[in-house]
Amino acid sequence: MDIVLNGITFQLLSQKAVYQADEELLIIADVHLGKARHFMRSGVNLTHKAQQSDYQNLAQLFFSYQPKKVYFLGDLFHSSINADWMHFENLINAFSAIEFTLIKGNHDLIPTSFFTRLNVNVINETLETEQFIFSHHPLSITTDKIVFCGHIHPAVRLQGKARQSVLLPCFHYSAPNFLLPSFGRLTGSYIIRQKRNEKVFIVVGNEVKML
């Protein structure tokens, strides 16, 4: 679905990303690549097959939107470097026309030099434009700009009849922060309770709906 923020139209994608058509910009948060491998190395069985879908989903998204720019809002990799890096390298090389930028998150331990070698821009703090700020963490500042951010992995729990409930990832807008759901398959979620003046957009199947 489309929403207008500071006069600019953004598409909220059910693939858990945001697309801005004029700039041909794709925004993605919290992919947590390499998480399965990191778990395996620490003796926890998380099959790395599950991680494969993250690469497929990224590739599919790049392919269908053909963006000029992609911003990763932090926590692109879950931990220090491991064999997953190879998959990432392949992916970036396959889409060499795209300009990739990583805004670092608390999980991003991989040295910047690894990214720059792949021509991926790395920003340690936040990326600021005239109307928007791109950040990993939500910011507690007063500003007219809108802060696109990740880190929280927002989701809402919807209660149904007979004690049934579903947990759905969501976009969450509480000025100035516009939270993206986590992109990665192997990420957890934090349950948001919607307050007044806040907007929640849930991801249900192939759709994004406002609550």
Binding site: F39, S42, G43, V44, N45, L46, K161, Q164, G188
Partner: protein
């Protein structure tokens, strides 16, 4: 003298040995294993312990090393056994030293225990596995001759029993002549309890039953007028006036409630009603800090307290001699639990246990009489043992790999001797091995996975951090994510589930530990609070599954209902219920034992069907889902469902084609599993069961309270594992286990089948009602509670609806 030590001890105390004690001494000294079934308060500890001492001192040559391992389910009990046994050694001057090892034992003491010559060690199932996770355990256990499992009935039916079975399988292979003794209260499957304990190829053994029996006196507290007593509810506060005289005239009373929030409410209300009890009454439940609980237990022991309002947290534990009265508030749900609670009073041998049953709504009154009937006819519940728990097996294999390592063939031979794993195939065992060595059965062997590796055929954990994390997570009790509640001074009061605290804002007041507290701030996993005198306070509700009514008690209730139709003299409870049954007859019908009652009624909410199998809430949940699914197969219709222990309700906005569904054999047992698996709930339920499984199998590690280990980067929810396994590893045995556990323990498949068979033989009586009947009203009211409101709000809403009913 056949038993010099035992006889001297008994004559010193001025006691006469019971028959069962002498039988135990004889069997133990002649090399038997076995199970002792005796009620508490008759000296069951000495029946076993003195036998072991006799056996030890009969030998000409006594080797150094551990001779006896005594397992109890509770630390408090371990302590009591330690004191009792040490007293024997001290007073008789025996060269037999006893050590105590629980989670509380300091590291220093532990190393001393290893060096010193201990003859017996008293411990818990978890600590027993911790011993197996230490290097050199083989030497430590080499001379072991006896293992005693105390309160075996309490462990059986939990995964802690599986821990015991596994540890025993290893100890047996270290010492093939090991003798195993269990001590159990009366349960419905004592023989099976013995089989589980002793394994598939048991040593020579005996089941010794004490003929001594505890006298139980049950009195149901009846409301002054039944008319004013509510048809629904589960607090029972209206009965305060009736219960206070009982408390006042007793020396010391335990009041058992079914939930922690009910416990908090009762404590408050009694204090408001009788302020003079302040200081003489206390509160005891599982979320209170250990310090508070220990203080209460000690105070009870010393006879300082006149009343303790408690939950199942006091079901087990040391004897409180001063306690002479027990009050059960609300249904005890099972005969065995009721008897156990009754037995907490009148602890002196020969004394009568007095228990008062306080029904929380009118129909529940019948449970008092049903309970008396069940006890008189010795209808005790069975404890269903866990079998094929792969989560525990995976944990155990890692435990062995952490210490000295294990050989695959040896361990396989050992575990298939246990009751729990007897049916595990080599293929399944190999899956478990693959799970800890490669991370799963998936063919892409993973070089980076290094939990357990093979070195010269020996499976070991090479990584010290993994080993340490494993030791910290040994055990099968998985707790929810809880927050510590502390005063600003840092004094700990207890713990509350995180989600409750997350709803509060600083400044909000809530009841906890019988005080009104104000939330000051949340700091990490700690909620800092101070005392307050606020007017309004919230009541925490702890999440926990509701116990279903046991099969034995359900059966007695059906029998008692039937008695209403008979001409014989009714007991007090039935007499009291006559007005209610008359109302039920006016609006509907009181079912006989060979009838299944179905009520149809239309309200502004829609079309309701109420069905009353009287089989407990778990079975009703399964039945309701099944019936809903089968009706929907005939005709597109959707339902909302609510259940209680007596029956269930289907509610729809359209007319329900019940009659045509009945013609199509609505209650058939054919396709039972298929039909149930098609109802949506199953996956959701399995996902919930998987939470514990993932924790036990070491997939989810949350760290331990007080042991802050940085594992944030290793945190993942069990739900994630559940969905990843479902997509990528559907053959995963842990996943299958989750579904099995749902069928066995949640849906109670066996009971569900039996219920369906019974229903097929019954006459179905359908009644069209003009207004809600006393039977269906509690279920109707239950639906209001599904939104997880606090009890008080629930009560208010129920009252409002009752008023509306009276007006119409």
């Amino acid at each position: 003298m056949a038993f010099p030590i035992a006889e001297e001890w008994f004559s010193r105390q001025g006691w006469q040995p019971h028959d069962f004690q002498q039988q135990c001494w004889k069997s133990i000294t002649t090399g038997y294993s076995g199970l002792l079934n005796a009620p508490t308060g008759f000296g069951k500890t000495y029946a076993i312990w003195l036998g072991i001492l006799e056996s030890y001192f009969k030998k000409r040559q006594r080797k150094n090393g551990l001779h006896c391992l005594w397992i109890t389910p509770l630390r408090a009990l371990s302590k009591e056994i330690y004191n009792a046994t040490t007293r024997v050694s001290d007073e008789l001057g025996l060269d037999y030293y006893i050590g105590l090892r629980t989670g509380d034992t300091s590291a220093k003491e532990r190393t001393q225990q290893k060096k010193n010559i201990l003859h017996a060690l008293i411990t818990t199932p978890e600590s027993m596995h911790l011993l197996l996770a230490q290097k050199g355990y083989y030497d430590f256990f080499k001379q072991l001759e006896f293992v005693v499992i105390d309160e075996w009935h309490e462990l059986l039916g939990t995964k802690r029993a599986v821990l015991v079975e596994l540890a025993l399988s290893r100890l047996k292979s270290i010492n093939p002549n090991l003798k195993i003794w269990g001590i159990s209260a009366t349960i419905g499957n004592l023989e099976e309890a013995k089989d589980v304990l002793l394994g598939i190829h048991p040593p020579k053994n005996k089941l010794i039953k004490a003929t001594e029996q505890k006298q139980i006196e049950i009195e149901t507290l009846l409301p002054k007028t039944l008319k004013k007593y509510p048809w629904a509810g589960h607090l029972g506060i209206q009965m305060l006036e009736e219960v206070m005289p009982v408390i006042e005239r007793s020396n010391s009373t335990l009041a058992f409630t079914n939930t922690r929030s009910q416990c908090e409410i009762w404590y408050q209300r009694i204090l408001q009603h009788s302020p003079h009890l302040a200081g003489a009454m206390a509160l005891h439940h599982g979320s209170l800090s250990e310090n508070i609980r220990l203080w209460v237990e000690n105070a009870l022991h010393e006879g300082i307290l006149k009343l303790v309002v408690c939950t199942s947290s006091l079901d087990l534990g040391v004897d409180f001699r001063p306690v002479d009265t027990v009050v059960q508030i609300g249904s005890a749900k099972g005969v065995a639990r009721f008897m156990q609670r009754a037995g907490r009073s009148g602890h002196q041998p020969g004394a009568v246990s007095n228990i008062y049953f306080l029904p929380t709504h009118s129909l529940e009154i019948i449970e008092g009489s049903a309970m008396r009937y069940a006890i008189a006819h010795k209808q005790m519940e069975q404890r269903i043992p866990y079998i094929r728990s792969f989560d525990v097996l995976v944990q155990y294999l890692t435990t062995l790999a952490v210490s000295d390592g294990f050989r695959k063939e040896d361990v396989y031979k050992e575990i298939i001797q246990t009751y729990s794993y007897a049916s595990v195939t080599e293929e399944e065992f190999n899956w478990c091995i693959a799970f800890i060595t490669k991370g799963g059965s998936t063919l892409d062997a993973y070089e980076e996975y290094h939990k357990v590796i093979i070195e010269d055929g020996l499976y070991k954990v090479p990584d010290r951090r993994i080993a340490m994390r494993h030791r910290l997570s040994i055990g099968v009790i998985v707790s929810d994510s809880v927050m510590q509640v502390k005063f600003l001074s840092g004094k700990r009061i207890g713990s509350i589930e995180e989600w409750f605290i997350s709803r509060l804002k600083p400044g909000d007041a809530f009841w906890f530990a019988g005080r009104m507290l104000e939330l000051v701030r949340v700091n990490g996993m700690t909620a800092q609070v101070k005392n307050t005198k606020s007017k309004k306070a919230l009541l925490p509700s702890w999440q926990g599954s509701k116990m279903p009514l046991s099969s034995q008690l359900s059966q007695s209730i059906r029998h008692k209902l039937n008695e209403y139709h008979q001409k014989q003299k009714h007991d007090v409870e039935l007499q009291a219920l006559v007005p209610l049954f008359e109302e039920q007859e006016r609006t509907s019908h009181v079912p006989k034992e060979n009838e299944l009652l179905i009520e149809k009624v239309q309200t502004k909410d829609g079309y309701h069907i109420f069905i009353f199998p009287f089989e407990g809430r778990n079975v009703h949940e399964g039945l309701a889902a099944l019936v809903a699914y089968r009706i929907a197969q005939l005709y597109p219709i959707s339902f909302s469902i609510s259940v209680n222990d007596y029956g269930f309700e289907l509610l729809s906005d359209q007319k329900i084609p019940l009659e045509s569904a009945l013609e199509k054999d609505l209650f058939a047992t054919t396709n039972l599993f298929e039909d149930i698996s098609k109802t949506v709930n199953l996956t959701e339920m399995a996902k919930r069961k998987f939470r514990d499984i993932a924790g036990i199998a070491g997939l989810v590690f949350n760290g331990y309270p007080g042991k802050q280990i940085k594992t944030k980067h290793l945190q993942a929810s069990s739900q994630l594992f559940f969905s990843v396994f479902t997509d990528h590893d559907p053959q995963n045995l842990l996943l299958k286990q989750a579904y099995d556990e749902v069928m066995i323990f949640q849906m109670e498949e066996i009971r569900l089948r039996e219920a369906l068979h019974r229903i097929q033989k019954q006459t179905i009586v359908i009644k069209e009602l003009e207004r809600l009947s006393p039977f269906c009203f509690p279920i109707f009211a239950e639906r209001l509670n599904t939104e997880r409101l606090t009890n008080e709000k629930f009560e208010e809403r129920v009252n409002r609806i009752i008023k509306q009913l009276e007006q119409s």
